[in-house]
Subunit: 250 residues, 2 copies
DNA sequence: GCGATCAGCGGCACG
DNA sequence: CGTGCCGTTGATCGC
């Protein structure tokens, strides 16, 4: 396809805020928060109505180069090239796709009012625990969900049978080291404000060995959260307290 | 475009591992690590040679639904629909795009041997500090880069003039709470193995107020890392030690 | 394969 | 705006 023709199609799409799809051979330069160079190859470029700019190769899930929405996009015809440039300020960034060949350029006005509904998120699981805190521990009284801390927020804040404060951090997938330190931070801050004894419970489907080790060192607790996702919601199958050194008896 | 015709184009692309681009009205269902529903709307679907599957709306940088590479993709013609299904096991996931209309379906064999070269990464900055450790502190001797710890690795491990061990963690952007706890973890582990005094220095362009507070509480140190990216590499302009409570005198 | 970490992370919510 | 944090995070590298 002629580069001039391709430019006309892209320009029209830009002014009408339509989705533009350009397939061709291009190189890509980026300069902003970092800098990158991608030498010539055949790719697909998507330009969306909000200014989102994506360069896709024929492999890999993620776009190889991109520019977030709300910037400015311009086209420029060179000697033997069509240059499409996407810029934004704050942060100052420039993305440039230099096309030497365009196989196809097209645009589409896409009507789409729908937004995604997701189930099985952390918040979703947290809600379910809120409804049945006994699953975590018998006699637990929930005081608050998403309690704002000076920095960050506690998923679930509760009180146990003995009157101790309990901080529960819920994770939808395997917990690692940073999840333990995150919980520790919350426990520290709560312990500083109220000076009652404060327990911390990490609630996740799994925990890595080293994270479990660190957790026990800090006298925090772990609960295995067994859940399933059966449309259109998540459901907790069980929450079991991790017995310290259970494996030693097997 | 006729759905049968669209299916033929997609099938041919799949068997030849070409990039397929389908534009049309579809709804999308996902079930796997989580679950989601996206009701009908007009979108662009990309299917790549490696099986990557992407559903894009006309706004937003990220794909609204997707399936990572290496799965299986099949098409099925229904009464008035074309269903494209992408599945994978481990984790078990199913993504289904149900097309009621297809405006355009096309495929492209894309030749592309290039991979992205990026500058201004953390590793890049770490390398530069390795070459001139004096920028961080006069008299610093680098012992090791990317020292493997039992879990994780230290960006730069050094010794100061007085013979203390120094753990340096480099960040390419504003450091927050989790970067402080990360450094603390490394310092703790080093301190446990060698029982010399161990200092920890966080080196980043900025640090958030609460992170700075926590850092000082833990007797760790912060250095402002001022760098610029001038193709094709990064360059450090300066590294300045954060004076404790400097702001108090202003 | 799991585990830990980086990423131009993106996106959202809240102050 | 910055700050914190979740995400179907993805991608990479080491064990």
């Amino acid at each position: 396809m002629d580069l001039t023709e391709a430019q006309a199609i892209v320009d029209e799409a830009l002014s009408a805020r339509k989705m533009a799809i350009i397939v061709g051979e291009c190189s890509v330069k980026y300069h902003g928060r970092a800098a990158s160079k991608l030498s010539s190859g055949e790719r697909v470029v998507l330009i969306k109505g909000d200014g989102s700019f994506l360069v896709h190769q024929n492999s890999g899930l993620a776009a190889i180069n991109y520019q977030p929405p709300k910037g400015t996009i311009t086209t420029k015809l060179g000697e033997d090239t069509l240059v499409i440039r996407a810029t934004r300020k704050k942060p100052a960034e420039l993305l440039e796709a230099i096309f030497s060949k365009v196989f196809s350029a097209s645009s589409f006005s896409l009507r789409d009012d729908s937004s995604l509904r997701v189930f099985g998120t952390e918040k979703n699981l947290s809600d379910l625990i809120m409804q049945k805190p006994d699953l975590v521990e018998e006699g637990l009284t929930v005081l608050n969900q998403e309690s704002p801390l000076s920095k960050g927020k506690i998923d679930i804040f509760a009180r146990d049978k003995k009157g101790n404060s309990v901080v529960i951090e819920v994770k939808r997938r395997t917990a690692g080291l940073k999840e333990v330190t995150q919980l520790q931070r919350y426990v520290d801050e709560v312990g500083k404000r109220l000076d009652t004894k404060t327990r911390g419970i990490l609630c996740a489907p799994k925990i890595t060995p080293s994270a479990l080790h660190m957790l026990e060192e800090k006298n925090l607790e772990f609960c295995t959260l067994d859940y399933e996702i059966h449309n259109p919601s998540a459901k907790i199958r069980s929450i079991k307290k991790k017995q310290k050194g259970l494996g030693d008896y097997l």
